[in-house]
């Protein structure tokens, strides 16, 4: 499962070096989207994933660093800026033409090397601070006392912890590739770079130039650098991992083809990260998209349109083209409202008939499967040693009993229009799996009677590389109240609406346990 969506490469290049230009571009695009001219372009970016490969095998050895862009997790497949200043639509077109990113690999590796370089710089800086005085003015240096040598140990351990922490946060295999730069990582990388550069400046001016003899002070300076890097890493953890854990928004996700809806609670995320979370939940919660189920409504719609023909008897006097179309459509609507439409009747009876047919086929199927399961029996251990003849492993057993249920299963799948979701091979595999794990016929049938989540079916249904995020707001901006964006797959799309979780005011009421007292309700009648 991971191999489907683990690619990334992140264009640190566009995030960092073009910081201001990119920002400007984004603002320009935003203004463009606000203006009301008809050619408003949506920011649609393709989440295209380059093929899977073990990305970070060697870099984790080298790259220990505090902050980095996530070389693993985001990619800028399409960016608003590039050094040739192409417009966004051009880039989208080009990337789509390139058929799954030959160019993306270069960008990914480029960003990865930048990350490794930054990491090396950050890791080697404290060591350089400690080593340079010994190399440049060894005779002038004061002897390092006990406290100073203790600080060496502290530097060593802190660097080790930093190495492990950075690996854990930044260098693990990414789950997905996102369209734009991960803003927080970019900012953190800039912060780290500025920080390290300022430390080097101070070191260069005050220590190297003046050739300070107080080695203990230099060691303490190096320790303070490592401490500050650890704190920046702590900030990174809070920004990247903890901030989105507390739920702040409730998003409503609706599939456009059949209206299946789910609600999720998300924290404060950018739109692209929220889209990623939603897609991951989509694979778990939504039933598989089955285009064969939509043909009925499409045929009904076609029948509506085909029912009427409009003729214009006014002749060539009516020369305004829009007026003509307008009056034509109005005439059609009026006629459709007036005619006695019996299509609702047909729908009702057709659905009742279909329901009946499905139930009948299901009954036959259940009986056939139960009977098939009675033909095989699990052999016990002792029997296995005694009678070696005609002993089958699960796959052969499945193949032996499959023909007796194949026909009824095929008919049932045809009636419920699921036959393209299950191949014969997959059915036999599932049957062998159920036999191995001592499942009942009902457990075997469950995956065919109800449509399951998408991941349950073959890989060709996953379409994990075909998601496109369509959003009017910038995809790196955070979720807001009333934000709407679209996640387009090939033949359906998910419409996502975000609402803020309301501020809840909880008040307390104390009830004394001794105050629970009861009386009987009396109703007596006395004769006098």
């Amino acid at each position: 499962m991971d191999t489907e969506s683990t690619y990334s490469g992140y264009s640190y290049y566009s995030g960092r070096s073009r910081g201001s230009h990119r920002h400007g571009e984004r603002i320009r695009d935003h203004h463009k989207s606000r203006s009301k001219d008809g050619s408003r372009s949506e920011k649609s970016v393709t989440i295209n994933a380059p093929p899977a490969e073990p990305l970070l095998g060697d870099s984790s050895v080298l790259g220990e660093e505090v902050q980095d862009d996530n070389w693993g997790e985001t990619t800028t497949a399409v960016t608003g800026t590039s050094e040739h200043s192409l417009s966004q639509e051009d880039i989208v077109r080009i990337t789509k033409d390139l058929e799954d990113s030959v160019g993306l690999d270069c960008r990914r590796y480029f960003s990865l090397t930048l990350a490794v370089v930054l990491g090396l710089l950050v890791f080697l800086t404290p060591l350089a601070f400690l080593a340079l005085p010994h190399l440049l003015w060894p005779d002038k240096l004061l002897v390092c006392g006990t406290a100073c040598e203790g600080l060496f140990i502290s530097v060593a351990f802190k660097l080790l912890i930093l190495l492990l922490a950075v690996w854990a946060l930044f260098f693990r295999a990414p789950r997905a590739s996102l369209p734009r730069v991960f803003v927080f990582r970019a900012l953190l990388a800039v912060l780290v770079l500025l920080f390290v550069v300022s430390y080097w400046l101070f070191y260069g001016v005050r220590i190297l130039d003046s050739q300070d003899e107080n080695y203990q002070g230099i060691v303490q300076y190096a320790v303070s650098l490592v401490d500050a890097l650890l704190f920046i890493h702590y900030l990174a953890i809070v920004l990247l991992e903890l901030r989105q854990l507390q739920p702040a928004f409730s998003v409503c996700v609706t599939r456009s083809t059949d209206g299946e809806t789910r609600h999720y609670n998300l924290g404060q995320l950018s739109i692209q990260r929220a889209a990623l979370v939603i897609i991951e939940n989509y694979y778990r919660d939504f039933s598989v998209h089955n285009p064969a189920l939509l043909t009925a409504s499409k045929s009904r719609a076609a029948k509506h349109l085909a029912g009427l023909k409009v003729y214009n008897v006014d002749g060539p006097e009516n020369n305004a083209a829009t007026g003509l179309a307008h009056s034509q459509s109005r005439a059609m609507i009026a006629a459709a409202a007036r005619r006695r439409d019996t299509s609702h009747n047909e729908l009702y009876y057709e659905e009742a008939e279909h329901e009946r047919r499905v139930r009948k086929r299901k009954a036959r199927l259940v009986v056939a499967v139960e009977e098939a399961f009675t033909h095989i029996k699990r052999m016990q251990e002792e029997e296995q040693k005694k009678a070696p003849g005609d002993v089958m492993d699960p796959r052969e057993a499945a193949q032996a009993i499959f023909p007796s249920m194949a026909r009824s299963l095929q008919k049932y799948l045809r009636t419920t229009r699921q036959q393209h979701c299950h191949s014969m091979e997959s059915i036999q595999q599932h049957l062998a799996f159920c036999i191995t794990n001592n499942m009942t016929p009902k457990a075997f049938l469950e995956s065919y009677l109800t449509p399951g989540p998408t991941l349950q079916y073959g890989r060709e249904r996953w379409l994990a590389r075909q998601w496109t995020l369509v959003s009017e707001a910038s995809v790196t901006s955070g979720l807001k109240e009333g934000a709407i964006f679209l996640l387009k797959c090939i033949d359906f799309s998910l419409v996502v609406t975000a609402k803020r979780i309301p501020y809840i005011q909880l008040s307390e009421e104390f009830i004394d346990p001794k105050s629970h007292k009861f009386v009987l309700r009396l109703q007596s009648e006395t004769s006098v």
Partner: protein
């Protein structure tokens, strides 16, 4: 009175005093049965009872004493007491704020042979209409 169109209609108008418009004074003579003096009706209600279960009261928080049953042929029926009447006074004693047991005691005093009740009825017009027909 049936209405025949075209013919003059006869109507009877009864005039009630405003102060005792809906109240009625009823005098019951107790009947001696064995060693008990009985009045021939049953009461329900009281300030220690549940007023919500009173079928005769209009206001379900009314905790007064109501007549729940009248024995046919008994002294109460003879005197004109009806089911559903609310007993306001017994021999001058107030019955609107008494417990059930206190009400019973006031009605069954052994040294009294006659009890004079002041009762309220929901609709006395109904009685008028009954008497007209």
């Amino acid at each position: 009175m049936s209405f025949i169109p075209g013919q003059p209609v006869t109507a009877v108008v009864l005039h009630f005093q405003l102060s005792c418009a809906l109240q009625q004074r009823i005098e019951i003579c107790k009947l001696r049965q064995g060693e008990h003096l009985i009045l021939g009706f049953s009461i329900g209600g009281g300030i220690d009872q549940d007023p919500g279960q009173n079928p005769f009261s209009e206001d379900k928080s009314d905790k007064g004493i109501y007549v729940t049953r009248v024995t046919p042929g008994g002294p109460a029926e003879v005197a004109g007491l009806m089911m559903g009447d609310k007993v306001m006074q017994v021999n001058g004693w107030d019955m609107t704020m008494v417990t059930h047991d206190q009400a019973r005691k006031r009605l069954t005093k052994k040294n009294e042979d006659i009890v004079r009740l002041l009762v309220t009825r929901k609709s006395l017009e109904q009685a008028v209409r009954h008497s007209m027909m």
